[in-house]
Assembly symmetry: C2
Homo-oligomer: 136 residues x 2
């Protein structure tokens, strides 16, 4: 159920912030996170698509933050990586002949978006810079 894209992306962003603008290779990032470099590059592709990072190809290439860490909040990062419903969703369609089953998905949807809004609001109160400053 659960994938680890959020912690991976945040780990990447933290390392890039720590690099203070220097270009960092996917191999180095993968080494700190302890995952495969190709997976890092896939996450970076997504982070780039959302404007958080930029990359430089070729020899001496790598990635770097595309905006100031103070202008990236963790709610945006969450939104950039989320793919599932936060509280899980059965892929099976409930029975449409059952009066409860027929309606439950729509009610779960509103429940989920309310709950997710509360989560995002909380995450948004913290910037990448706030997060990175905790490391010494």
């Amino acid at each position: 159920m659960n994938n680890s894209r959020f912690p991976i992306s945040l780990h990447i962003l933290t390392l890039l912030d720590d690099a203070k603008g220097a270009v960092v290779s996917s191999e180095y990032l993968a080494g700190s996170i302890n995952i495969n470099p190709v997976l890092v590059r896939k996450e970076i592709m997504n982070l780039r698509k959302h404007g958080f990072v930029d990359s430089k190809e070729g020899k001496g290439g790598g990635s770097y933050l595309a905006k100031n860490a103070i202008d990236i909040n963790l709610g945006e990062v969450y939104l950039a990586v989320r793919n599932h419903h936060l509280l899980g969703q059965s892929k099976n369609e409930p029975n449409p002949k059952c009066p409860i089953g027929r309606q439950i998905n729509q009610h779960l949807d509103t429940l989920y978006s309310d709950a997710e809004s509360a989560l995002i609001k909380n995450l948004s109160s913290q910037t990448l810079a706030d997060f990175t400053s905790k490391f010494q």
Copy 2:
């Protein structure tokens, strides 16, 4: 990543509330949710462990709410079924030789518990009775 225990449990509780105290079989519940009865029984085992439902074995048996729907809030239900970290956790240990990797898990943990508290607070504002009342 993502499992569907929360929607399944909430679906079960909704059906039981709707049954107004009558005993409901796992087969009936499974039919509405459109999943396997054994999976329903496993979820019920957990709901029973947390005091939300009770079951009656043998012929004519099944499950029923153990407390009033007004006394069950959705935050408690979430807590009863949660098993992973909300925002995902890489099972791989980050590199302990990296100053960021070495510390990131502890910082993610506090980030997660704050965010999860916000989510639970939101969910707790709604009772099972509130949720069920949306169905007509």
